[in-house]
Symmetry: C2
Subunit: 157 residues, 2 copies
């Protein structure tokens, strides 16, 4: 029999995930002309998928592609918005990424750094599967929510 | 009599200030070849002085001058280092400044945002006098130290 995997979209099946729903909403919100209205969700997220083979092929010697940096921002925007829906804490994103592709990304709520990630090889930002993308976004949101619970006053300051 | 002001360097007299001492040290530390060894402190800080008349002349329609952005970073580096000497809290600087010259600068210690400044017209970054520069740096350092005292656990997290 022809395996099911052959018919699955790249990145595997799209799991049900509050994080993915949020990320898709963030991206569709930028589509002001409605040109992606007919695009299925898996296609909207397609560029977040980078397989092991593709990862190896991506050079890390040039400046990171602006499209990659755009996806990194949307990825953390979705964490911030889901965090707000779950805890009420509004978080702003700041990042410092060198042209060599490493740096730091933070989400700040009030006086609290609710998320802090040191990144490298940002050129290769992506996930093997949609399931992995969903899991990572959910985990970061949960960690940020824990931080808000731990320092609620700093988050409100 | 010839007024004393005529003989004062631009920016007025250099006051005694722990902040200015720190800022001068930060800048001299970048002079790896010792080419500024003979330069007096007032000359090292000369570009931090922008008079009212000069401010008006600086256009804010082009991208901010990289030298201005460099000075802004040194200014906040000195705040971070003085804060560390006074409280032990090590702070890292992050900034997000658009090419239109507005944005946000933060100093982060542990999980705490010890300083957060929204800036605009960064093209015109500078101070009327050395006294004003010293005062501003001292005030920001004091505010950051207050924040560390208010949320010591977040600053250590």
């Amino acid at each position: 029999m022809s395996s099911e995997a052959d018919t699955l979209p790249r990145g595997g099946a799209l799991p049900t995930s509050e994080y993915l729903t949020q990320l898709i909403a963030v991206i569709r919100a930028e589509d002001t002309h409605g040109s992606w209205d007919g695009k299925p969700d898996a296609e909207i997220l397609a560029d977040f998928i980078v397989t092991k083979e593709e990862r190896r092929e991506i050079p890390i010697i040039c400046d990171p592609d602006p499209d990659v940096l755009w996806r990194v921002e949307r990825f953390y925007d979705a964490v911030a918005l889901l965090l707000e829906r779950r805890t009420g804490a509004q978080a702003a994103q700041m990042s410092r990424i060198t042209h060599e592709g490493f740096g730091r990304i933070v989400l700040i709520s009030g006086r609290l750094v609710v998320l802090s990630k040191h990144v490298r090889d940002i050129h290769r930002f992506g996930f093997e599967t949609f399931a992995r993308l969903a899991e990572t976004g959910e985990q970061l949101t949960a960690d940020a929510a824990d931080m808000v619970a731990r320092f609620p006053e700093a988050a409100r300051a």
